[in-house]
């Protein structure tokens, strides 16, 4: 303690100076690392979307950080126009027919941008030139013409390929191909159809359950509608079963929507998860209505039997009446054709 008191000034001085030196050194190193004092050249970039993009997203070329995105806006034609700075030492790498590839980490949703250099390394472009990303038409054209070769780290390449694969199987330009997306749409359509039928069914039942002005129930409507609905339900149920069978394998693969593969293929959940969710929602809505239909039939069973009994009795009476009329010598058939 005496030592501390005696040399308190030196101890405190060293304590503070070392701390300040650490912060000064680390800040200085960070300034140097981020090339804060180096001259930078501004270029424009065009992206299809801004997912994972931030005002400090780095631009890499062959593993080297060559610049950083500084700003980005949404244009009138719904593309993302970004400004990015390129450090002086890499300025010569920005040549004509170059493109950018934005890859997104599916877990962190952050992106890195890879600069894809054009074929002619001598045609350096001027500051302010536009470099398209490969997710916009200009970039796609460069990729299609083999002007740029998509490179990047292996994981990003796998993700990119999976995304392209997912996009292709979900495209439904030709319905005869039976694409995955068509199956999903069919499933959703069938479920929607089922929902409409049950909606109509319930409206009819409510109408039938209410006696009309004369106090009678519209029996004929009930019978006709019940027959139609029964047929429709049978067809629709068959379609649902068929669709479910076809989708069984796919649904097994997608049984864990939080899984990494699903995240990589369908990060937004719009291609796969959303149609499945829609289908399940529609089926869920249908189930209580079918239950209601079933309950209605159970409660009305007694009335149905009574009506049918009356109908049979009426038909019997009508048969007797018709026979009487038929056998009548005044208004019936000629004597030779009468019932013996």
């Amino acid at each position: 303690m005496k030592f501390k008191m005696r040399y308190s000034e030196r101890i405190v001085g060293t304590f503070l100076i070392v701390a300040l030196s650490i912060i000064a050194a680390s800040t200085g190193y960070l300034f140097l690392q981020n090339k804060v004092f180096e001259k930078k050249y501004l270029f424009k970039a065009k992206f299809g979307d801004a997912v994972g993009l931030s005002s400090s997203t780095s631009v890499f070329f062959k593993g080297f950080k060559i610049g950083v995105v500084t700003d980005f806006i949404l244009t009138d034609d719904n593309y993302i126009l970004a400004d990015f700075e390129v450090y002086e030492e890499f300025k010569q790498k920005i040549v004509s027919n170059s493109a950018l590839f934005k890859s997104i980490n599916p877990v962190t949703n952050t992106s890195t941008i890879e600069f894809l250099q054009g074929p002619d390394i001598s045609s350096v472009v001027i500051e302010g030139s536009m470099i398209p990303a490969i997710d916009v038409p200009q970039g796609e054209a460069l990729l299609a013409k083999n002007m740029v070769k998509k490179t990047g780290d292996p994981l990003n390449t796998v993700i990119y390929n999976l995304a392209a694969f997912s996009e292709n199987i979900n495209k439904d330009n030709n319905v005869d191909k039976g694409a995955f997306f068509r199956a999903m749409v069919n499933m959703a359509d069938v479920a929607e159809g089922l929902k409409k039928i049950t909606d109509n069914l319930n409206v009819d039942f409510e109408t039938i359950s209410k006696p009309d002005k004369s106090g009678k129930r519209p029996l004929s409507t009930l019978v006709v509608n019940a027959a139609n609905i029964s047929d429709s339900l049978r067809v629709m149920t068959g379609l649902v079963n068929l669709s479910l069978m076809r989708l069984d394998t796919v649904l097994t693969a997608y049984s864990k929507p939080e899984g990494l593969i699903v995240k990589m293929i369908d990060p937004g959940g719009k291609q796969v998860i959303e149609p499945i969710r829609k289908t399940i929602t529609n089926l869920n809505e249908v189930l209580p209505k079918l239950e209601k239909f079933s309950d209605f039939l159970v409660t009305q069973q007694g009335q149905f039997l009574s009506i049918l009994k009356q109908l049979v009795e009426t038909l019997d009476e009508m048969q007797v009446t018709f026979e009487t009329i038929n056998n009548s010598p005044f208004i019936g058939k000629p004597k030779s054709e009468r019932k013996k």
């Binding site: 304590f15 701390a19 680390s26 877990v107 962190t108």
Partner: protein, 263 residues
């Protein structure tokens, strides 16, 4: 009944107003006396140096131990979870985010509140009880200038230095734990680490430490000087100082984080 409630509410409002104005005037007095402190630094220099010695230097061992442990734990937990989905590189991001942005400043503040905040409140409270503060006033010496300003400066400087040491020790602890799992040269570790650190992280940690130090010192000094005459008030005021310091530090942390990273 309504009259009673209204009266109680009015009293509450009056009390809140008087307390707020008292604290605000205390803060302004400290800021005003800072100027005089630098003019008459010879008188209070020793108090300042001893305050830094007690608050900063003597807490270095405890701070380093906690920091190394926290850094190691973060790497340990991260190593158990992140490689499972191929995101080992996020270890550095998590280490930097947790230590530099948040835990470094907060844990240092908590330790200083526990060690020095309580000491300042109790010391000043006892000085009031022993009428030492009154004696200073009778000699024409401002108690704020002589007692509070050196303590505030001392705690602010100590907090700043300790936060830096905490960050360094925590990152070192992280490297040590990472080395146990997969030997990685310190230079590689530092390169990867610095690629995740931004200037704003360092500046934010620095600014936060200054604010936290000021809050802890002001709250503790204020509570200490609020003791009237009984020695039984000293522990009560000390406890109040700790609780208020913790609350204000957390509130300032939220506020500063929002200002620095969201605005």
């Amino acid at each position: 009944m309504v009259q009673k409630i209204s009266l109680a509410f009015a009293n509450r409002v009056r009390l809140f107003y008087s307390k707020t104005t008292s604290v605000v005037s205390f803060v302004f007095e400290i800021l005003y006396e800072l100027k005089n402190f630098f003019l008459q630094r010879k008188i209070t220099r020793l108090i300042l140096i001893r305050q830094i010695l007690f608050t900063g230097f003597e807490a270095l061992g405890l701070i380093s131990f906690v920091a190394v442990a926290v850094g190691g734990i973060i790497i340990l937990e991260g190593s158990a979870i992140l490689p499972g989905f191929g995101q080992s590189k996020l270890l550095y991001t998590i280490l930097v985010t947790v230590i530099l942005r948040e835990l470094g400043g907060l844990l240092t503040a908590f330790i200083i509140i526990a060690r020095s905040g309580t000491a300042i409140a109790a010391e000043l409270g006892n000085m009031v009880v022993n009428q030492e503060v009154e004696s200073l006033v009778s000699f024409g010496i401002s108690p704020v200038l002589y007692l509070v300003v050196p303590r505030v400066l001392g705690v602010v400087l100590s907090m700043m230095a300790l936060t830096i040491y905490f960050n360094v020790a925590a990152l070192a602890g992280g490297w040590f734990m990472a080395y146990l799992f997969a030997p990685i040269p310190i230079l590689d570790f530092l390169t990867k680490l610095f690629s995740e650190i931004s200037v704003i992280d360092v500046i934010s940690s620095f600014i936060k430490s200054l604010f936290f130090g000021f809050v802890v010192a002001v709250v503790s000094s204020y509570q200490g000087l609020q003791v009237n005459f009984a020695s039984t008030e000293v522990p009560q005021r000390t406890i109040k100082g700790v609780v208020l310091s913790l609350s204000w530090v957390i509130l300032f942390d939220i506020l500063l984080t929002a200002i620095i990273y969201l605005v």
